[in-house]
């Protein structure tokens, strides 16, 4: 007798929980609330990507055209795909010392998997991700970028 009651109880509870689930989905069906779909090409002007979105690796420069990259080459070593190539040069500082500095920070977007290892391991926080995602170009060579802007210099106080 007890097992029969247990059996019927199971059925009723089961149906009840299924109906609960269907109530949730049908509520969404009739009043979806906030639609999450982005109508992309139309809303291109107003589209704001999430801050955490990894579009491409960039090197932020301040208004005096200074960046924080010391040319240490750690990002090049850490990149799993060989995306980054550091070409450094030797400069003479004001007090007459020789010092290594970045000449070209070459970033090949076509080979990047956006793993963020370079951004995370850079000791002077010189790299960041931009939210740009429209990367299509007609020539593959255009995907090879030099991240430090021409004529840029190391920011004061960054070693």
């Amino acid at each position: 007798m007890r097992s029969i009651i247990e059996y019927l109880r199971e059925i009723v509870l089961g149906i009840w929980s299924l109906l609960k689930g269907m109530k949730v989905t049908s509520t969404y069906f009739f009043s979806p609330g906030k639609i999450v779909t982005q109508k992309y090409p139309e809303n291109r002007k107003s589209l704001v990507m999430l801050e955490r979105f990894k579009g491409e690796v960039v090197m932020p420069h301040n208004e005096k055209n200074e960046h924080k990259c010391t040319g240490c080459g750690i990002c090049e070593i850490n990149c799993p795909n060989g995306t980054i190539e550091i070409i450094s040069k030797v400069i003479i500082t004001e007090d007459g010392k020789k010092k290594k500095a970045i000449d070209k920070h070459i970033y090949r977007l076509g080979m990047c998997t956006f793993c963020a290892l370079c951004v995370k391991t850079c000791p002077s926080n010189a790299l960041a991700f931009s939210q740009k995602f429209e990367h299509a170009v007609f020539n593959r060579a255009l995907l090879n970028k030099i991240l430090n802007k021409p004529g840029s210099q190391l920011m004061k106080g960054v070693e």
Partner: protein
Amino acid sequence: MLPEIVAQNTSASQSVPWWKFFYDFSLLTQPVDVWLKGSVSPFWSTVIEMAIVGVLFLLFYAVVGLFLVYAERKVCAFIQNRLGPNRIGPFGIFQTVADLIKLLFKELIPIKNADSFLFNLAPFIVIIVNFMVLAAIPFSKGLHAIDFNIGIFYVIAVSSMSVVGVLLAGWSSNSKYSLIGAMRSGAQIVSYELSIGLAIITIVILAGSMQLSEIIEAQRTGWFIFKGHIPALIAFVIYIISSTAETNRGPFDMAEAESELTAGYHTEYSGIRFAFFYLAEYINMFIVASIAATLFLGGWMPFHVGSWDGFNRIMDFIPPFIWYIGKTFFIIWIIMLFKWTFPRLRIDQLLTLEWKYLLPINLLNVLIMAFIVLMGWHF
């Protein structure tokens, strides 16, 4: 036995106003039939009528199949707070047409070591079975290709043949995924056929007939789901559950469980053969939904309440075809809701549900229904 033939061309007799056709299609089909019989020999008139019906069914098949694929994607999207297809045509309504055109142009990849004859045959078996079932479905008053006196029996018997196509597809494609998918589908259909059959028997007991037109006629004073109250309601629920399982749809879609078996029995199919399977799945859903609508919700019969003549008269103003489509799509909506609400069952859970729950309840339900009919306790 000549099939009662349906045609939708406009060359109808002038005496009847055109809107009457929506209430009784035989007004349209009878003159065509008479005219054909008068102008050609009986043999050729039968051939021509069959050809017309065949073409109409082909059109119907394509339109309904494509629309259901679209509807499924929209329903799924709304449930998940998305928009769904919205690019091709207004509200993306031509999306599935575009998909079909794409599939038509795709290469039919030959499979190494596959049994090519059976491999090519399998999609056609599934489609042919679909057509055979569609022939027996009453779409509206007078819009009914064949009215067998064992209509509903024919429908269950023929529709269970589609598993042959699925099994052949799985066996002949020489792939583990396909074979496992097909075997699961076999186990599933064999068990759930039983539930469908018993749920239908419950209604056949109440109706006292297996002829679909008579079953509908018997619901003139109220749909069976109201007339047969508790046992009919239980049978309805069981029918919906087991027909979802029989059409291999989620949450019972283990035959093609995409997370475990890539695509189950149609993994190896490409191009238009894949489209056949895909469309057949949706037409199957349409078929089970329209059978449910016919048996429990009165098919094309408008909503009537016993002897409220005024109310019944008002309801009669809505054409039967609208009633039929409305009910069928309501049930299709429920089945779609199932798919997008519930997680997929494991094979053992699936068989437990059938053999430990649905079957005993169903057997008891048939008994209760027989008793109620015997005592005259229904409405």
